[in-house]
């Protein structure tokens, strides 16, 4: 695997957390919606406000001019009833008139409703000193209400004419506009977030699919592929992912096939070796001492060679996911007893069965489980001066097979490594893992236990004596599970029947 470049993978992992990505998308859409609607609302409000204000001011000013002309004409005739005139003037939007007949003097005010104090003094001053015939206007606040005041001086008569127009109607309609705009902003932001959630889901779904597919491939289902998509951006990703998966599958299958083919090819010459050595062994007594020793060496290594080929074949089956497990309900105590008996006829290794493990049933492939036991006994034989005890322990959910030896034990740094293929121990490990027979035995133990949903590990002996303690933990089956397994078996058998028919 080391040949795969690691850099792009790292770049990918930086953007991994899909939750964060989703959160980022949602935030971006929510914030975008908020800012955009805020901008729109703000500009709408200020534009509307200024346009409306100007319109009202312009309209008020036009009316003010008309009114001012009438007042101006009246100012030239002395006997005019000024108050009656002011009252008769058309009033736009609640405009109130007031006239000063003497250039701004305090006692010269005439008005039906307005007081001079209702006008801003600045405006009165500015109007009184203006050159005349031009309107001055001013916006101001009085008693918390906005007003527009306009003034004009008539130079010939020294009349000052003012009008005051309330702007509160306008501001109340602008207020309701503002409320509408705020509501629109909230709605738009909400819609942005909703869009972000939806789009986040959509954008991330392919990522979730890819992650699922990658997990499936890592789990050994090498034929897993992503479905084709129409989106050109995604199609590129999907194609390269599928391409990668195919390349990986081909490579793994090629490796597995090579190991398997090599093993099969080795079987034929081994057959000749095996049979020939047996022929020689039956004539061992006829041989001279030296030839006999040579024959013994040959016979031992043919055995070893054969075991290695078998193990290699088995492990390549495991790698290819092509192990034909044949599951049965097994009385584990019986199986262990028989496996021990098969391993060593002469030197009896006693099996101790704890009360909890009596009559315990596991579901498994008995020949594979027997191989697990054989390999562990073999390992104890080679590196641990032989198994000193074999125990079966049990609890509610598990059955544990414990094999102890009295060898040098396994140092901590090698406790995982001993289960690797062709494991070589560190210098401290002494004989274990180095020298003769360091092969696939424990690796196969690990693979087979894994195929049985179990676990295997090595630890130090609990009694403090030197030696290794190998523990195989298998799931214990309840009666209801057993029924299901029985049905599965029957179905498998049915499938096989149909396949062959």
């Amino acid at each position: 695997m080391s040949r795969w470049p690691t850099r792009p993978l790292r770049r990918l992992t930086r953007a991994t957390s899909s939750l964060r990505l989703r959160a980022r998308i949602i935030t971006a859409f929510g914030l975008g919606g908020f800012l955009l609607s805020l901008l729109l609302a703000g500009s709408t409000y200020s534009l509307t406000r200024s346009v409306t204000l100007r319109q009202q001011e312009d309209a008020s000013e036009r009316q003010f001019f008309l009114n001012a002309q009438q007042v101006e004409q009246a100012s030239r005739t002395a006997d005019t009833d000024l108050l009656a005139l002011l009252q008769s003037l058309p009033r736009l939007a609640g405009a109130q008139p007031i006239v000063n007949t003497d250039g701004g003097a305090d006692d010269a005010w005439n008005a039906p409703s307005l007081e001079s104090s209702d006008l801003p003094p600045d405006l009165i001053g500015a109007t009184a000193t203006s050159s005349g015939d031009a309107a001055l206007r001013m916006r101001y606040d009085l008693d918390d209400s906005p007003w527009l005041a306009m003034g004009m001086r008539f130079p010939r008569s020294e009349f000052l004419y003012f009008e005051r127009v309330p702007l509160s109607d306008l501001s109340s309609s602008l207020n309701s506009l503002a409320v509408i705009l705020v509501a629109a902003t909230v709605v738009t932001t909400g819609a942005g977030i909703a869009l972000g959630v939806w789009l986040g889901g959509r954008v991330l779904r392919p990522l979730a699919d890819i992650s699922e597919a990658a997990q499936a491939i890592a789990g050994g289902r090498l034929e897993t592929r992503l479905e084709r998509v129409d989106d050109p951006d995604l199609a590129k990703l999907v194609n390269s992912f599928n391409g990668m998966a195919s390349a990986l599958q081909q490579r793994i299958e090629r490796d597995a096939r090579l190991a398997s083919d090599v093993s099969h090819e080795l079987r034929s010459p081994l057959m000749t070796l095996r049979a020939s050595v047996d022929v020689l062994l039956s004539r061992r007594d006829e041989l001279s001492g030296r030839s006999r020793e040579a024959l013994d060496l040959l016979a031992q290594d043919v055995d070893r060679f054969q075991q290695l080929v078998e193990d290699l074949l088995e492990i390549s089956r495991v790698d290819a996911g092509a192990v034909d497990l044949s599951f049965d309900q097994i009385n584990i105590a019986d199986l262990v007893t028989l496996a021990i008996a098969q391993y060593s006829q002469d030197q009896a290794i006693a099996l101790r069965v704890a009360q909890d493990a009596e009559d315990a049933v596991v579901v498994g492939d008995k020949r594979r489980l027997a191989q697990v036991i054989r390999n562990l006994l073999d390992n104890a034989e080679k590196y641990g001066e032989g198994a000193t005890s074999v125990e079966l322990l049990g609890d509610k959910a598990h059955i544990r097979l414990v094999i102890e030896d009295s060898g040098p034990g396994v140092p901590d740094e090698d406790k995982t490594r001993v289960f690797e293929r062709f494991a070589r121990g560190t210098a401290a490990a002494g004989a274990r893992g180095s020298g003769a027979g360091a092969g696939l035995g424990l690796a196969l133990v690990a693979e087979h236990v894994r195929l049985h949903d179990g676990d295997v590990w090595v630890e130090d002996r609990l009694d403090g004596q030197p030696g290794a303690r190998f523990v195989v933990e298998l799931p214990r089956r309840s009666t209801s599970e057993l029924t299901e397994v029985g049905e599965e078996m029957a179905e498998l058998e049915q499938d096989l029947t149909e396949e062959l028919a």
Binding site: H264, T272, R274, Q329
Partner: protein, 226 residues
Amino acid sequence: MGTRILAVEDDERIRTAVRFALEDEGWIVDEAENGEDALDQFTRAPADVVLIDIMLPGIDGFELCRSIRRTSDVPIVMVTARADTHDVVAGLEAGADDYLTKPFAPKELSARIRALLRRIRTSGPDTQTVRVGDLEIAPEQGMVKRAGEEVHLTKTEFRLLCELASSPGKVFSREHLLERVWGYGYFGDGRLVDVHVRRLRTKVETDPAHPRHVVTVRGMGYKLQP
């Protein structure tokens, strides 16, 4: 006269080495290097046991097995380089009684041959005729009739049926059948039983897909339905 084994194997070195080893075990061994040669020899002088390598040039091991089965119920042991389900099951379906995986110990082969021959020379355990539905099993005569007509079984199939018929209704585990019929111990291959049961069903059942006589007991084994 000794027991004659016809060993069919295309690899000359293997053939010779296996012949030497088998002769050491006391068997008389004839060699055939391909399927045609084997059929020719078998027609002229039938052997007591045939040992067939699956990978043969020309007629392959499966085909040779089927050809021999058409005329004979001689015990056949398949030799395969693969212990994968496909090869094993296909070999057994073709009519083999047992199989061995290369490289096997000649002593193991001898033990297998002896087990196959032993059951041919001993008749069924029960001398009484057993009737189950439309089946009539007469262990002594080595005869099985279905609806009054004789059904032809190989010795292994017959032995398997007799074992089940020794106690109709009782469930026999695969281990038990392996031991009683093939002489294997606890670690024998259960596929031997499964495939032979299937072969048996095609001969004694009206509808092999829905067996009424030789039935599977889920997770337990097989029984002869009384």
